[in-house]
């Protein structure tokens, strides 16, 4: 089974400041780490490899230093790391990022299964996984709580719908995004780090991709226009209502009406 895991490098702490003038995260001097959600995806991939054989590759899009997280994934047990990196990819929104990833994945090879973390701790959109799948014309399931196993060319999974679970059967190749805490990710091995000291990270730039049209990438390829980025105002005031769903529905309706959100 050939598995590819999409990962991302994110700031190492949750208290990252935003430059209100430029709207850019102040990343200078801030330590970075692998997106914690991606660790569950890597662990799941490694468990499947233990069971069915095959390989686990990891891919990320980002600046050169993002190869650190690829190496970390390799120290955890992944076989091959691919970095999609080009100045022309900078400023990408969710759509452009997903498109770039899908192009990188096409170039990387053919896979039976693509795994992603449910979301990242910096962007938090949870959209890059499913959008990448759409660009690749793959079936996909988000919020996967458990991967039961593989039967011939099908994969059986449990999807978490918050209030209930769904058991689903998909045809491979497909893409899954993994829920938080579905496993305990293994730790990176210092022994493997020593053994793989000279591991090569493959780098794909724009010219390596199938679609080399610059306007499809980066800021130019992003339909989202960011007007302003600012830290959310902290507000801890709250009002608690109790009662049946019906009664609470009325309460919410009255509030919305009062605030002129509905007629």
């Amino acid at each position: 089974m050939k598995i590819l895991v999409c990962i991302k490098q994110v700031p190492g702490t949750t208290s990252v400041e935003v430059d209100e003038e430029t709207g850019v995260l102040k990343r200078d001097g801030v330590e970075s780490k692998m997106n914690p959600f991606d660790l569950y995806a890597i662990e799941q991939a490694l468990l499947l490899r233990e069971r069915y054989g095959g390989c686990v590759d990891v891919i990320t899009m980002g600046p050169r230093q993002a190869e650190e997280v690829l190496k970390e994934a390799i120290y955890m047990g992944a076989d091959r790391g691919i970095l999609i990196s080009d100045r022309k990819f900078a400023g990408a929104d969710v759509v452009a990022t997903s498109y770039t990833l899908s192009q990188g994945i096409r170039k990387a090879g053919t896979y039976d299964l693509i795994l992603c973390g449910k979301q990242t701790t910096d962007g938090d959109t949870a959209q890059v996984g499913p959008e990448t799948a759409e660009f690749l014309h793959l079936e996909h399931v988000t919020n996967v709580q458990e991967v039961y196993g593989v039967e011939e060319s099908d994969i059986l999974v449990k999807e978490n719908q918050e209030h209930y679970f769904r058991e689903l059967r998909l045809k491979t190749p497909c893409l899954l995004t993994l829920e938080k805490d579905v496993n305990t990710p293994r730790l990176p091995s210092f022994k493997r780090k020593m053994a793989m000291k000279n591991v090569e990270i493959e780098v794909f730039s724009l010219s390596d991709l199938e679609d080399t049209q610059e306007s499809n990438y980066g800021l130019a390829g992003s339909p989202t226009q960011v007007e302003r980025i600012f830290p959310p105002e902290k507000n801890t005031s709250r009002q608690l209502y109790e009662g049946s769903g019906e009664k609470l529905g009325d309460v919410v309706y009255d509030i919305l009406k009062q605030k002129k959100f509905v007629d």
Partner: protein
């Protein structure tokens, strides 16, 4: 001892009703500590709020010959805070104020009922570290000082005693005295402050403490090192120390205990393939400094029998490893019907011998003896589990196992308790270890502080 009506009404007049409980009003929790091997109800329970109030109570109690026991959060393991002779119990948990942070003298002044986790968090919020790190974070600082608690950073930073600069103490006769202060050096007579530390509430009542802080290290990384055999794991520790690196902690853990923790927490540990593990932590002010140190140790371990070395570097990874380590005591407790513990300390190059010995004992007496502990400072936590044993057979085996264990600890140059204290439960073993002369000196000291023997009677000596 039972208080008479006159004594009770004196106390009721002194203390507001919400903070005083009498006889049947006192909950079962107050009749024992966390391990629960020693029982006894106080006659009166008072939740004290100030040094002045404690002084008033002690003055009266001393006049009236009433025994007094002080209790913090009740997390003790040797019965030190159990009212074995009844009388008054003073609970300090309402004295939980952090009074002052002095950034010029690098000290924090706290009331004795502040919890360790509250102090640790306060220090971190101000970019400081209070280094003592006992596993039980919900213990009070007063309790930590009273047992001279050690914890998981002792290899590099030392124990509670090393961080106590000054103490406010109510003496058994009610007088309030201050020992030590914000000073770094002190060659002025006998150190009464140091006599108070580790005295388990038998000499005076600690109400405030001036504690030393250090700047918070920017970076810390742990290594989880798996081994085929426990002896190999622990055998490496003296060699790691010889490498002249200074890990903050070197803990050892057996797979069996990890599996209990997994079950207890309902959460998998990152690796349970090996039968024994070392867990080391390194801290420092830059990533490269910490990396340089841990790489040296990691290489040494790999060259000397370790099956691998895992890097625990992010908050998520630290949580997955250290949350299990923090739950060991509770997890072992949940795995059996009843247990008793042994907290001996031996020179760190004899830890492997001692653990090997406990494995032999387990086979010899056909009883389960899981353990974990601080390989880096020689302090072991060994648990004897009752499981399905009938009452008298359990008591008999426990006595035999304890006798052999403490004897072995002495033979290896160790001591009865590394950090949990002697309390009520380990008195006999302390006497065996120290011998008559030292015990008599201790009794003499006790008499000077407390001629009537009213403060925490029947404890330690």
């Amino acid at each position: 001892m039972k208080l008479n009506e006159e004594q009770l009404s004196f106390l009721k007049n002194l203390i507001e009703p919400a903070r005083i409980q009498i006889r049947d009003e006192i909950g079962e929790d107050y009749s024992h500590d966390e391990l629960g091997g020693v029982y006894g109800y106080p006659d009166v329970l008072i939740k004290v709020v100030s040094t002045g109030e404690i002084s008033q109570i002690m003055t009266y109690a001393y006049e009236q010959d009433i025994p007094v026991v002080v209790r913090g959060a009740g997390t003790g393991l040797v019965g030190a805070a159990v009212a074995v002779r009844g009388g008054i119990m003073l609970e300090t948990t309402l004295m939980n104020h952090i009074l002052e942070l002095d950034e010029e003298n690098l000290t924090v002044t706290v009331e004795s009922g502040v919890l360790l986790m509250e102090l640790a968090q306060f220090a971190e919020e101000h970019q400081f570290l209070y280094p003592p790190d006992p596993g039980e974070k919900s213990a009070t600082i007063g309790g930590n000082i009273s047992t001279n608690a050690g914890g998981m950073r002792a290899v590099k930073y030392g124990v509670t005693r090393d961080y106590v600069r000054g103490l406010t103490v109510v003496l058994p006769n009610g007088r309030v005295e201050r020992f030590g202060g914000k000073i770094v050096k002190n060659s002025s007579g006998y150190s009464l402050k140091d006599l108070m530390i580790g005295s388990e509430g038998t000499l005076g009542i600690i109400t405030e403490a001036i504690l030393k802080l250090v700047p918070l290290p920017d970076k810390s990384v742990s290594l989880l090192v798996p081994y085929k055999k426990m002896e190999d794991a622990i055998g490496t520790v003296p060699e790691i120390i010889k490498l002249k690196t200074t890990p903050t902690a070197i803990e050892f853990m057996e797979r069996e205990v990890l599996l209990f923790a997994e079950e207890f927490l309902g959460k998998k540990f990152p690796d349970t393939k090996s039968s024994a593990y070392l867990l080391l932590t390194f801290d420092g002010n830059s990533a490269s400094q910490v990396e340089g140190e841990y790489e040296k140790v990691a290489r040494y371990c790999l060259e000397h029998g370790a099956e691998d070395v895992f890097i625990v570097d992010t908050p998520e990874r630290k949580d997955s490893v250290w949350s299990a380590r923090g739950a060991f005591l509770e997890a072992i407790k949940a795995s059996t019907s009843e247990m008793d513990e042994c907290d001996v300390v031996v020179p760190r190059n004899r830890v492997a011998d001692f653990i090997h010995f406990t494995h032999d004992l387990s086979r010899k007496h056909d009883i389960r003896i899981p353990s974990f502990g601080h390989a880096g400072d020689g302090n072991l936590h060994i648990y004897i589990c009752r499981d399905e044993l009938k009452e008298n057979l359990w008591k008999q085996k426990l006595t035999e196992v304890f006798a052999e264990m403490y004897e072995m600890a002495m033979r290896l140059g160790g001591a009865v308790s590394g950090e949990h204290g002697v309390g009520y439960a380990k008195k006999k073993y302390l006497e065996d270890q120290l011998g008559e002369v030292q015990i008599e000196i201790m009794r003499g000291i006790k008499k000077v502080f407390d001629p009537k023997g009213l403060l925490n009677p029947e404890k330690v000596i």
